[in-house]
């Protein structure tokens, strides 16, 4: 049944409005920064884009399955170290990381090769961990992801000959420009969107809504979760590679509870049940954090410099998160995606009905 007001283009637009809007905004911001931004602003934007990759990475699993993951940062660390081993400090490696296999110890690899292999390694690690963990559900799964985070932290902190323990690996090539970060953020967002609208993603969302009912309808909890977990691990790996090559250093303790908390705060504030929520959370929390970081550094009013004591930023962040959890459990977006404004929404509903009728 055709409808005069609906073109295929419009129906595509309305169906994928959220992801198109997010992508357009990101591209627009990076263009602005490219044209007018100072180096400082560029760094802030790169940081925010990397955070989008992180939070979307966690969202792919947590948002779709409803199981809060405290351990996704683990796969960032795995990828960050992997890319560090491949690209960092050729002269120093044999001394500082003598336990590496010689293929890594005595050679360096181009950054794109290392990025690919590192992301694959993170995905593989997630898959292997997931084979075990995804048999669990609910709180038990959350707890075991936390255990994974601790296991990796203990292992890498003490594996002196390979990871340099808790010391930082320095001297990674820093090649992350706003455009590369944008590309990664777009990949992450599109991956998340495609997954959540795929048959697998919808099945997984069904298990989120009601585990028992979904299982009774024949949805395999295990495979749906495992696929999401692996994809999430790959995106986290991407975030790890970006972080490593943005900062130029890798140290295990920057992939631990603080980062986990920040990422979860973003996810909670925006709303962990929708992709739009994940992205909004990053933007809102990054803005708050950045604003208070500046206030802590000091604002000059005439002759006097007013500054907040260091640490206010963290207090405000935790406070915001608690307030959101109390009064708006589903986050700012309330679990909804961005949709077309009302005027076009009529078109949207018609197009949906026409599709239904066509079937």
């Amino acid at each position: 049944m055709s409808n005069a007001t609906t073109t295929p283009y419009q129906s595509f637009l309305s169906r994928h409005f959220a992801v198109l809007l997010i992508a357009a905004c990101l591209v627009f911001i990076v263009c602005l920064v490219h044209l007018f931004g100072s180096v400082m602003v560029q760094r802030v934007v790169i940081e925010a884009l990397i955070r989008i990759v992180i939070v979307v990475g966690i969202y792919i699993f947590t948002g779709n399955s409803g199981i809060i993951s405290f351990g996704s940062v683990t796969f960032m660390a795995i990828a960050a170290y992997a890319t560090g081993w491949q690209t960092c400090c050729e002269m120093l490696k044999p001394i500082t990381m003598s336990g590496l296999p010689s293929i890594l110890r005595d050679n360096s690899y181009p950054v794109y090769v290392s990025a690919l292999t590192s992301v694959s390694l993170a995905a593989l690690a997630a898959f292997v961990v997931g084979l075990i963990l995804m048999r669990l559900g609910g709180l038990a799964a959350s707890i075991s992801t936390l255990a994974i985070l601790f296991i990796l932290n203990v292992s890498y902190s003490n594996w002196e000959t390979v990871t340099m323990g808790t010391a930082s690996m320095v001297g990674l090539p820093t090649y992350i420009t706003p455009w590369i970060a944008l590309g990664a953020a777009l990949i992450a967002v599109v991956c998340a969107w495609v997954f959540q609208n795929s048959a697998r993603g919808i099945l997984l969302r069904a298990t989120r809504a009601d585990e028992v009912a979904a299982a009774a309808c024949g949805v395999s909890l295990y495979w749906s979760r495992l696929i999401a977990w692996t994809l999430s691990g790959a995106v986290m790996g991407l975030a790890g590679v970006l972080t490593a090559h943005f900062l130029g250093t890798v140290s295990i303790n920057s992939y631990f509870l603080n980062l986990t908390f920040l990422a979860l705060a973003m996810l909670v504030v925006g709303g962990m049940k929708s992709l739009s929520g994940a992205v909004v959370g990053v933007v809102v929390v990054s803005t708050i954090v950045d604003m208070f970081r500046r206030l802590e550094a000091g604002v000059s009013l005439g002759d006097t410099t007013l500054s907040l004591p260091a640490g206010t930023q963290e207090l405000v962040l935790a406070g915001v998160m608690i307030v959101i959890l109390m009064f708006r459990k589903d986050g700012l977006m309330g679990g909804k995606e961005f949709c077309l404004p009302k005027r076009w929404a009529a078109v949207r509903s018609e197009s949906v009905t026409s599709e239904r009728n066509a079937q």
Binding site: I132, G138, L139, F150, L264, M326
Partner: protein, 304 residues
């Protein structure tokens, strides 16, 4: 033989410390399905209450300057008030959320408190000399037991006995057990939800205060993350013992203590550094093969 006994003493001492922490986590989980990570910060703040807030590395004593009874009493009061405040302001409005959301919110509260301490006391580790006289070792039949270990075991024993007495013999304790068994039904029978939960928090505060004093006496240092690792281990101990079961929590605490000390003693030297990773793997193993824990309560069974 002596060596073995020494190891067992170490294990009991560490286990009783973990048991204290895991009991307080288990108690609160029992009545409101909240895994309270802020327990770590109750411990930290209890310890920091001993000193005057300054940026100095060896600060002047505040509560720590008082005679022992007043010092202990003061720390208990501080931590209990803190525990009640977090319950009233942060956790009460979230009552009834699912456990995973509550876990996230307790992370947020913990993060808040940790940075509050950092704001007031600065982030640097500090040294305090309290209970130095206790670190002298006492010798029994050729086995040297550090005084701090004896103290830990003694305190844990007293508190465990007091807990059992409280839970079995007092009206409040019986109400609390009823609430842990089936909160809804207990309320219908006239158990006051607010009072039971607040009492659970207060008791968890008392235990946190005891743990913070024990940690300070043992290590002589203050650190804003000093409560974290004991609480993480104790939390995993409650998982092993059975979430919501108090005997299970205590048992889990001792198991984690024994496993930790045992691994330290018997692992090959180059694997010893990874000791804690093995403990965490044990937890995942438990979650896979016995997710309800060693001691199962009716509350742990999910109903459909």
């Amino acid at each position: 033989m002596q060596n073995l006994i020494q190891i067992i003493v170490d294990a009991v001492a560490l286990g009783s410390l973990y048991a204290l922490v895991s009991l307080s986590i288990g108690l609160v989980f029992g009545v409101m399905r909240l895994i309270n990570f802020a327990q770590a910060d109750y411990i930290t703040i209890g310890a920091y209450a001993l000193v005057v807030p300054t940026a100095s590395v060896s600060p002047a004593l505040l509560l720590g300057a008082l005679p022992f009874a007043f010092m202990a009493g003061g720390v208990v009061v501080v931590v209990v008030v803190l525990a009640l405040l977090t319950e009233r302001l942060a956790f009460r409005p979230m009552r009834g959320s699912d456990p995973a959301t509550l876990l996230v919110s307790s992370f947020a509260v913990s993060y808040f408190l940790q940075h509050l301490v950092m704001l007031i006391h600065s982030g640097r580790p500090k040294s305090v000399g309290i209970g130095n006289s206790l670190s002298a070792a006492v010798e029994f039949w050729g086995i040297r037991v550090p005084g701090t270990q004896l103290l830990t075991m003694g305190v844990a024993l007293v508190m465990l006995v007091a807990m059992v007495f409280f839970l079995k013999k007092t009206p409040m304790g019986i109400q609390m057990r009823a609430a842990a068994e089936n909160f809804q039904m207990a309320r219908l029978m006239g158990v006051k939800a607010n009072r039971v939960i607040a009492t659970a928090f207060a008791i968890s505060g008392i235990m946190a205060a005891a743990v913070s004093l024990l940690l300070v006496v043992q290590t002589g240092t203050l650190d804003i993350r000093m409560g974290l690792m004991p609480v993480i281990f104790a939390f995993f101990a409650t998982v092993i013992g059975g979430m919501g079961s108090l005997p299970g929590a205590a048992l889990g605490g001792f198991i984690v203590g024994f496993v930790t000390v045992g691994l330290q003693a018997f692992l090959p030297p180059d694997l010893r550094a990874f000791r804690d990773a093995f403990v965490f793997m044990l937890v995942i193993g438990f979650l896979l093969f016995r997710p309800q824990g060693l001691i199962v309560t009716s509350a742990a069974r999910e109903r459909v």
